[in-house]
Symmetry: C2
Subunit: 262 residues, 2 copies
Amino acid sequence: MAGTDSSRRDANGPDAGPVFVLVRPQLGENIGTAARAMAKFGLAEMRIVAPRDGWPSDRARSAASGADRVVDAAALYDSTEDAVADLTLVLATTARPRGMVKPVETPASATRAMAAARAGGGRAGVLFGPERPGLSNDEVALADAILSVPVNPAFASLNLAQAVLLVGYEWHLAGDATPAESLEVGGQPPATQDEVEAMLAHLVGELDAADYFRADHMRPTIVQNLRALLRRARPTEQEVRSLHGVVSALALGRQSRRRTRG
Amino acid sequence: MAGTDSSRRDANGPDAGPVFVLVRPQLGENIGTAARAMAKFGLAEMRIVAPRDGWPSDRARSAASGADRVVDAAALYDSTEDAVADLTLVLATTARPRGMVKPVETPASATRAMAAARAGGGRAGVLFGPERPGLSNDEVALADAILSVPVNPAFASLNLAQAVLLVGYEWHLAGDATPAESLEVGGQPPATQDEVEAMLAHLVGELDAADYFRADHMRPTIVQNLRALLRRARPTEQEVRSLHGVVSALALGRQSRRRTRG
């Protein structure tokens, strides 16, 4: 039962994510791809139950490419029972209904349950079955709940690496501080309200000078619309400076054309 | 520009998901795997810009396995500009910051933006770059926003099929009616409150008969705890019937033991 000690140590660490247990995986490549998917989402602890082609596996290591560490640290078990013995919450990934009375979780709700288990001092793990047949009913019965990824019913089955990727993704999201939407500004500070308004005033001043607002009663509406457009673009300081330049250039062009005409 | 007409038709349909645009994909296998990932999440419209190894591709068809329809219906374009010409919202998937002033969306927030575009009568699309280099800066510049999947910064890059899978997953989730958590009961109806209470009364009655509650003041607490345990298990009718049987069998065993002793 290699790895049990290290998993106990991890369980006490503040960042211990769920353990991913690959049950009777068939191809070393898939173990490696699963390890890489885990690493992408900051998950480190893999357990492997009775891999068909033996262990260690060169194919697993090479498919893991950047994530050799996950493969090298993977703990090997003879049985699924042993692999989950120290866990307090076990989820079994399966697409097929099993006729068992078990809660069925989505990746997102499973993530909440696993985070709650961790907060309560426990340790969660997710069982992933072998490539074709999936987990046996006896293995699913070991779990507290079923984890099922909602997919188009006509294409119900995810492969091993896809299932690992999606469960890992949801786990990572839950602990991720990335704002839902942000603005990439290439290091440029956003313009302040004042700067945008000054730019707008400059523009409107030049439009006035150009007799753009023929119908006076439309002026407030047009200015409002220009303001909305500018705000929606959330310009940077630099962009506001550029817009000043653009307005000045256009205004100057008009004046010089007038001068030419006059 | 094959496929433009059919995409217009789709755009008017109520279920038109976003268009996935594969820009200069290198390997046919990856186009097929991407198609399969799309099909898993009910997405049907793929566009392909200048695939390196030509089109149609046998390798794409065979990697798509069940999802040939997505591959066969894929529209081929010479340029990314053409491929996005009829779209009203374009997102560019990229892991690297590009020094451009663009909103950066997560898959979830991008999904909301795409659903809003659809609700407003528009059509959204997502650009996926070629396997190694990803989208060029000019291609990213065509997009309204960047779509970036939050990953462990040490393993920043997702491959093409993984990116397609995660964006498709989020799209599917948003329109999916799967409850966050449900109970798989194998077709068995859940027990009613009355049935659970009757079962509890049966159990407590037998415990009373067995002089289990030695300290009377503990009885309410113990009953409460048993009730909480039973409720938490959310038993089915069938399970409640089984529990009645279990309690009766245990009680009968006790009586016959007594009879034997007496």
